[in-house]
């Protein structure tokens, strides 16, 4: 949920900022008063009307949702829409399976795929060389070899294929929508953005069963669920890019009498190209992050071994394929970025095309040889077996065991402090107050922090949460999200400032942050469980691991972006380092910090379902329950919708709080999509 209200075209005549309202008390003081009153009321009304719903109880609406799904299921043989989507799914499946027979699974009657690992690697390296240069070619080579070396060649190829197919379809669907988003009115924009918000916050488990119903099991379901999750970043970012083409250029070329199609094709798309590539990049990352979820419906890829290891509580076994997903993510990320830069260089004649063509032609010879060999020689077709993967897995297992033994006591203490000091009191206040008290308090806070603009969406979302009948669970999930966000922001400020001030720290931490964001949470869930047990705290820690990287990067970029002349000026007045940070760097990067908090909240919330799998209960558990037992689907769907509503509510409050006027100032000076959205 990273909607940005793009500035209107006619930027030139910006109205002067509205004069600050005279306030007697700062906003935070009002907020404290609201909370104080809330606590007093809570003390007297605690435990009444909390709208608690038992583990297997349902409201009428939830039952209706289940019935609706059952009706759709029952109509599957006659429903023409399902027939149509099923056919679509068949095509996806055929496309994926064709690719699989080419490079990942034996193409019967051949005992091996048409092209073996050597050929695939050679072609991939050649492509890397062609689009991005020899450094990337080396990276590609190392990545592909690591897929084979660790023993996950065909799973890796499967993931690559599913990602490729989904991203291709995402581009086909997403680019027209991005153009629409980039060229429609602001109303159209806010509608599309809200829909994208829903897509991105709705837990995948909620729509996994319907997807199977509409598109079938396996590759088709994997492609579709990946598609749904990966589409929004592309639409948003590319749309933003198209919208950001300077109006002077549009006007100048319009004045030459271009048609709107010419404007799009010759001006807007080429000028937004860099941003579109960023969008594509984010889409690929999002697609990879769906790998494990897709494995729940037999989606081919590296997610399968991760999931299978999870069932065996085999940390090492999950770690190796998990790391390979990270390797693939890093490879694709760097390759697409470098390819975009290289094509720009080439267009500007900074690359000797003739020489390059010769190099590529020469390089093509060994590639063809490798291709040929990989069709006929066993050693080039199937990656030679070795023991690297299992031994790394064993090492990881021993390390985990040692780590858990060594730190188990200390972590227990830490868990108890956070639980007693933060989680329990907050949860009691939010979830044990009568629902109308909590609702009133939240509305009051929204009003105080974000004004009327925040109040309206808050009221709508709270009504929605009430209607879907999971109020109590929603408040628990909200508590955990808030606590997690506090921890995320502490980390973001500490590490973000550190990274911005020390280049070496930045270089050291970035790859770790990339890994934290792309590694499937299932890999680190078991060690977390061993350390903290099945508790809300475990869920929060898992969420923090996932959410902190984005927030840290945003804060680091924001602080690093503070103009050096301002820092210099403050230094010239003799400010200490602490003063420099607190009085110059942090206030000046306020926009990024607010954005980091916003993203942190949403990322934490998106981990609610994972939290439900490690003992956090609440909405996450309801979603998993709905996915696991068909008679509970309605409850799961209600929980999913409630998560979406919480997300939209928090997002709108945070955004309104950051900036009371939606149009005139954009809270962030840097483009919002600089955050990877995972």
């Amino acid at each position: 949920m990273t909607t940005v209200v793009a500035p209107p075209r006619a930027e030139a005549k910006e109205p002067p900022p509205p004069p600050a309202e005279p306030r007697h008390l700062p906003r935070w003081a009002w907020a404290l008063i609201v909370i104080g009153v809330w606590i007093v009321v809570w003390a007297f009304t605690k435990g009444q009307d909390t709208l608690t719903l038992g583990a297997r109880e349902h409201t009428q609406l939830q039952n209706d949702l289940t019935e609706f799904r059952n009706a759709v299921l029952a109509s599957r043989d006659t429903n023409p829409f399902i027939q149509f989507t099923y056919q679509l799914g068949e095509w996806f499946k055929e496309a994926v399976e064709w690719c699989q027979r080419m490079i990942s699974i034996p193409d019967f009657p051949r005992p091996v795929p048409q092209i073996g690992w050597l050929g695939v690697t050679a072609v991939a390296v050649w492509i890397g060389l062609a689009v991005a240069g020899w450094r990337i070619a080396l990276l590609v080579a190392a990545s592909f070899v690591s897929f084979g070396l660790f023993g996950y060649w065909s799973d890796s190829m499967d993931l690559l294929i599913v990602t490729f197919v989904s991203v291709s379809v995402a581009v086909l669907i997403g680019m027209p929508l991005a153009v629409l988003l980039g060229t429609t009115s602001r109303l159209g924009n806010s509608i599309i953005n809200t829909i994208l918000d829903i897509f991105q916050t709705m837990p995948t488990f909620v729509y996994l069963l319907p997807i199977v119903l509409f598109f079938g099991i396996g590759a088709s379901a994997a492609v579709v669920c990946t598609l749904i999750y990966a589409l929004p970043p592309l639409i948003r970012i590319a749309g933003h890019g198209i919208r950001s083409v300077p109006s002077t250029t549009i006007e100048a070329t319009d004045s030459a009498g271009q048609t709107s199609w010419q404007r799009l094709r010759k001006v807007q798309l080429p000028m937004a190209r860099k941003t579109i590539v960023v969008g594509l990049n984010q889409t690929i990352m999002a697609a990879l992050s769906m790998a494990t979820i897709a494995a729940y419906v037999d989606g081919p890829g590296l997610g399968q071994p991760v999931l299978q290891s999870l069932f065996k509580n085999d940390v090492g076994g999950a770690f190796v394929p998990g790391m390979l997903i990270v390797v693939m993510a890093v490879m694709l990320d760097r390759t697409t970025t470098a390819a975009s830069e290289a094509s720009e260089k080439a267009a500007r004649g900074r690359i000797n095309m003739r020489q390059r063509r010769i190099v590529l032609a020469v390089a093509a010879v060994p590639v063809l040889v490798a291709l040929w060999m990989s069709r006929f020689y066993t050693w080039a077709a199937a990656f030679p077996e070795n023991n690297l993967g299992p031994s790394v897995a064993d090492a990881v297992n021993s390390f985990t065991e040692w780590f858990v033994d060594a730190f188990g006591g200390a972590t227990e203490w830490f868990k108890n402090v956070i639980t007693e000091a933060l989680i329990n009191p907050m949860q009691s206040l939010l979830a044990e107050s009568p629902w109308y008290v909590t609702a009133t308090a939240i509305m009051a806070l929204a009003l105080v922090l974000g004004g009327l603009r925040a109040l309206m969406p808050t009221v709508i979302c709270l009504i929605g949460i009430y209607i879907f009948g999971l109020w109590h669970d929603a408040m628990i999930t909200l508590t955990m999200t808030m606590v997690g966000t506090v921890l995320v922001m502490v980390m973001a400020l500490v590490f973000g400032v550190w990274m911005a001030r020390r280049k070496s720290v930045d270089l050291l931490l970035r790859p770790l942050l990339d890994a934290g964001q792309t590694i499937p949470p299932f890999v680190y869930l078991i060690p977390m469980l061993a350390l903290f047990g099945p508790t809300r705290f475990t869920a929060i820690v898992a969420g923090v691991i996932y959410a902190a990287p984005v927030a840290i990067k945003l804060v680091a970029d924001g602080v690093a972006g503070v103009s050096s002349s301002t820092v210099e000026a403050s230094r010239s007045t003799g400010a200490t380092t602490w003063q420099e940070i607190t009085k110059v760097q942090l206030p000046m990067s306020k926009g990024s910090i607010v954005l980091a908090a916003n993203q942190g909240l949403l990322f934490m919330l998106s981990m609610a379902v994972i939290g439900g799998m490690v003992g956090a209960g609440a909405l996450g558990y309801d979603v998993v329950l709905g996915f696991s037992r068909s008679e509970e689907w309605g409850k799961g769907a209600a929980a999913g919708i409630t998560i979406v509503l919480i997300g939209i509510m928090l997002d709108r409050i945070a955004r309104a709080a950051a900036n009371q006027d939606p149009i005139t100032h954009n809270p962030t000076r840097r483009p919002w999509w600089r955050s990877s959205m995972g």
Partner: protein, 332 residues
């Protein structure tokens, strides 16, 4: 001079080695073609008697053991092409109607799914009950072995309240914590606790992995833990878990979920298959129909997979090789 000669020799030897490798590699090339030929021959021979067998693999190791043993036999003995599909139960059942799933080899009882898909229960008839698979599911309340040893009286529910405080955690709000499990399983623990007047609060682990980790840690670190668990489950081979006695199960005592105050019944695990597939002439139909083995058999294969780190294929193949009699009985 000798050195030079040696150098020469070494060079020649290197060339020879490269040549040999190339020849070997070329022979390897032959092997791809040979095997292609072999596969074609085999396919011609088998003549589509078995064809594809789509085997759902539900996400727990015991299931995996059963599925791969049946799959291995089907592949080796009947020449089937077995497709293993990693799916949760609901999705598997949904796949019966679309031809994407043929067999669910271990079903713990899903009345709701039966109502939707089994004709005799009022469903659309896409699923068919193929009888019991010989395994018996035992569900109950378990504590780690050390606890049973140090406090033997804990194995009776009547004494649980005495220890409730010891079971308290950060999640249970002062009461004793009872660890509920994966949402996939039928659980009446909240009702049982209420109706037996126990001072416990159910905290759901949310997943099998979380439950297993919790019991492992509890045994290892001598922590207090009581929770929902079941057999067959491979973890029983690794750590001792003891069952707590509840009021015995009687017919109908679990009919009204809110009033349950008795133990879970032992569940004979069943096989369900796609109706279309069961009516086909696939030779694997008979195999699945006849398949039957014991909890011990399954635990053994599950232990191969988990403790010995074997792949499910290897584990199944090993068991099949060691138990030709049982396998022959299924094929007969």
């Amino acid at each position: 001079m000798r050195n030079t000669r040696n150098g020469w020799m070494r060079g020649a030897r290197a060339v020879a080695v490269v040549a040999c490798v190339t020849v070997v590699a070329a022979c390897g090339g032959g092997s791809i073609e040979e095997q292609t030929q072999a596969n074609e021959d085999q396919a011609a021979e088998a003549g589509g008697e078995c064809g594809d067998l789509n085997m759902a693999v539900n996400p727990w190791v015991g299931y995996e053991a059963s599925a791969y043993v049946v799959g291995t036999v089907a592949q080796e003995e009947l020449g089937c092409t077995v497709n293993y599909k990693d799916l949760k139960e609901d999705v598997s059942w949904q796949g019966f109607g679309t031809g994407e799933v043929d067999v669910v080899i271990e079903d713990w009882g899903h009345p709701d799914l039966e109502k939707k898909f089994v004709e005799s229960k009022g469903g659309d008839g896409s699923a068919t009950d193929f009888g019991e698979n010989g395994n018996v599911g035992i569900i109950g309340w378990y504590v780690p072995g050390w606890l049973a040893e140090e406090h033997p009286d804990i194995l009776d529910y009547k004494n649980l309240n005495k220890y409730a405080k010891d079971f308290a955690t950060s999640e249970s709000g002062g009461q004793g914590q009872f660890l509920g499990s994966d949402p996939s399983y039928v659980q009446f623990d909240e009702a049982i606790i209420d109706n037996l007047g126990l001072d416990f609060k159910v905290v759901f682990s949310g997943g099998e992995a979380a439950t297993i980790t919790a019991f492992e840690q509890a045994q290892k670190n001598k922590e207090w833990l009581i929770g929902y668990f079941w057999e067959p489950q491979y973890i029983h081979a690794e750590i001792p878990l003891e069952q707590v006695k509840l009021p015995p199960y009687t017919d109908g005592c679990q009919d009204v979920p809110a009033k349950v105050a008795c133990a879970y019944p032992d569940t004979p695990l069943k096989k369900f298959v796609s109706t279309d597939w069961s009516e086909s002439d696939s030779t694997a139909v008979g195999l699945v129909k006849n398949f039957k083995w014991t909890n011990d058999d399954q635990n053994l294969v599950a232990a191969y997979i988990t403790s010995d780190g074997m792949s499910p294929e290897d584990a199944a193949a090993k068991w099949v090789k060691d138990n030709p009699d049982k396998v022959q009985a299924w094929l007969g």
